[in-house]
């Protein structure tokens, strides 16, 4: 009883903090913090499945989120017709080679018994496919990138509603997770960590450098939205009536309205994921996962296939992270590959899960809210702190300028200290995992 009151209290305080930002700073800012809090919560639910349910250390959260973002762009942007007419043939041949390569590998994987020979054959197929792809596809990419490089210079996407990208982004992330997990699970836990670190760096490198696919560091902007545009709202009669009724300025209210629409969509996803996670955690499957996490040897002796279950939960968690990544790109309205920084996308999510309470879904959600809130608010706070500390120094002092300029970097250190303190003094997090006797 007391714990449930405490849990409600935590969330109430969190809501209060967001309302406080709305009152003190602006409602626009409060809502954008809320939206990112919701996305962070979904992402940390995904990581919580891997870490909290199964004890898997995934250091590649950034990569899976980036895959979701890539899907959002590929699904929603309209195709660039000129690029397709100029290089469509080459693109189809490239895709054909890729599909053939994957199909052959999959076929070999199914038909041959598990052996070193099978692995070697699959690798041979992949290498041959890579060489063919480079030979046929390299000239094509040049053609694509030459088509109007200032505005497009890429193939574009499918031109479908962006909401479809959310589940698809999850599936893509899950597929990649399956490959990584298949190789590294069953070995030492450190290997999974290092392999996921590697795959996420590679995914982001692909996003940054394959201009024909993503425009690279030139970014793809203006992704179609699932919610109305501010300008259209300001011109709509019903909207002006509504803002008049509420006594609000239509321009400010339109951007708040858009953010509220996003918040609604994100809340629906968050609640769905949360509900499914809770159901799973309380089911026989969830009990089995915890049994495996707490004692692999005895779970194995009871006939549980530890590696297969690990693979399953690793893929599931990555799917959720991919969905969150697609949601984030949808909210930004653009794909900016250079924004994928491991400290922001991987390690921050980890702080959320650990601080929130690993193994407890509500804890992961709370962690997502709390840590994102402080991540955003630490910047003005740090600046204010530095300003106060250095106020005694002369205005033209070089040290003062340096301190003020570098204050932003202190939030990394602060996050690290929060993580270390949580590990030491509150290893079970703000909302500890509930164990039913």
């Amino acid at each position: 009883m007391i714990t449930s009151i405490r849990n409600v209290l935590y969330f109430a305080v969190m809501a209060g903090l967001i309302v406080l930002v709305g009152q003190m700073q602006s409602w626009n800012l409060a809502l954008s913090i809320l939206n990112l809090c919701l996305i962070s919560a979904v992402m940390s639910l995904g990581v919580n499945m891997q870490w909290g349910y199964a004890g898997l250390f995934n250091v590649g959260v950034m990569g899976f989120a980036a895959l979701g973002g890539l899907t959002a762009m590929l699904v929603s942007m309209p195709p660039v017709q000129e690029a397709w007419t100029a290089a469509g043939g080459g693109a189809w041949v490239g895709l054909g080679i890729l599909v053939l390569m994957i199909a052959t590998s999959a076929w070999l994987y199914r038909k041959l018994p598990k052996s070193g020979l099978r692995t070697a054959l699959i690798m041979l197929v992949v290498i041959a496919g890579y060489v063919l792809l480079r030979m046929y596809f390299d000239p094509t990419t040049k053609v694509i990138e030459k088509v109007n490089p200032a505005a497009s210079g890429y193939l574009g996407g499918l031109g479908l509603p962006i909401l479809i990208a959310w589940p698809l982004g999850g599936l893509l992330a899950g597929g990649v997770a399956w490959i990584v997990g298949k190789i590294t699970l069953g070995l030492r836990s450190d290997y999974l960590a290092i392999a996921t670190l590697g795959i996420s760096e590679i995914i982001v490198a692909v996003l940054k450098h394959e201009d024909w696919l993503t425009r690279g560091v030139k970014n793809v902007t203006g992704l179609p939205r699932p919610v109305p545009y501010e300008v259209n709202l300001q011109n709509a009669v019903w909207f002006n009536d509504l803002s008049e009724k509420l006594g609000a300025d239509p321009v400010t209210f339109s951007s708040i309205f858009v953010k509220l629409c996003y918040a609604g969509l994100f809340t629906v996803v968050l609640l769905m994921v949360l509900w499914l996670s809770e159901k799973a955690l309380r089911s026989p499957w969830g009990r089995m996962m915890r049994a495996i996490r707490d004692n692999e040897v005895s779970a194995n002796a009871m006939g549980k296939d530890v590696t297969a279950r690990h693979l399953q939960v690793f893929v599931l968690g990555s799917i959720v992270v991919g969905i969150a990544g697609a949601m984030l790109t949808t909210l930004d309205g653009q794909l900016t590959p250079s924004s994928y920084q491991p400290l922001r996308f991987t390690f921050l999510i980890w702080v959320m899960v650990i601080v929130g309470g690993s193994g407890n879904n509500w804890g992961a959600v709370l962690g997502g809210f709390v840590i994102w809130f402080f991540w955003i608010e630490a910047e003005p706070l740090g600046l204010w702190l530095m300003d106060t500390i250095t106020s005694g120094m002369p205005a033209d002092s070089g040290l003062r300028a340096h301190l003020l300029e570098s204050a932003a970097h202190m939030r990394l250190a602060t996050m690290g200290i929060i993580l270390l303190l949580a590990l030491r003094f509150r290893p079970r997090g703000l909302l500890p995992e509930r164990t039913h006797q």
């Binding site: 004890g55 250190a413 996050m415 690290g416």
Partner: protein, 337 residues
Amino acid sequence: MSDPLNAAALLANFVIVPAVAYGSQLALGALGVTLIYGILRFSNFAHGDTMAFGTMITILFTWWFQSLGMSLGPLPTALIALPFGILLCAAFVLLCDRMVYRFHRKNRADPVIFVIASVGVMFVMNGLVRFIIGPNDQNFSDGERFIIKAREFKQMTGLSEGISIKVSQGITVVTMIIVVAALFWFLNKTRTGKSMRAYSDNEDLALLSGINPDRVVAVTWILAAALATIAGTLYGLDKSFKPFTYFQLLLPIFASAIVGGLGNPLGAIAGGFVIAFSEITVTYAYKKFANYIVPGDWKADGLMQLLSTNYKFAVSFLILLMVLLFRPTGIFKGKAV
């Protein structure tokens, strides 16, 4: 026209010389990771940022010495600053151990808890480095730039391709050899080194025979900090210092340590060179080389580059995957899988 001599010179200049230098830097980094793994039994994610931290201190001392007018003549001033960097970095790392890891060690926490704690330490170090020296590129090398210039080499040999060797590359290799020799002497001949190896092989047995675990752990951290600072400073002299690059070095360093066999110092060195050579041979554009080596008037039409340099991480990653698939304990037998 076929011209194997020029082709060999070309390859030496663009592949072998840089790969030997880079391999030495990776080997030193991987030695630190492997030592921590062997003794403390976790993968230290903070190692890249430990390198950045030690290098930063070395850079600050270098700038101070430069402003005092000190120099080593043709050698970079950073070499005088290096011992100070090692000292302060070791002190900081020991402080981290005292504040963070010791608590979990006393609790006999899971290895993965140590890994997460090392992520926390990584955050703190990264933040400190960016706070003190900023996130941008810093260049701190001075003295002579080249041991052999490409032009001099061409004049000496009459070839149309020159080989140039930078001072930083020479220093890297010489330092690596000295450091590795000293480290192996320490591990194999001294009492402390022997107790460290005993502790790594079998902790319980080592404790029973009266080895002081606190001492072993402290010495390990000091060695790891020294190796990290040396590796970081050499890398910074050879290329340049940028905090984020050092974080990204984590992947090739881990790959080196695993390829060689985690916990095996000899393996770490071999792994470093395997990774460095594969990374550079795979990302080198062989167009000019092919034109030299293929007889007749044939000219290569593409760059003949297997993989763009943007994807050099992918090389370490793929080698890592292959080793995990075929030989999870590494080339030299490392610790248990």
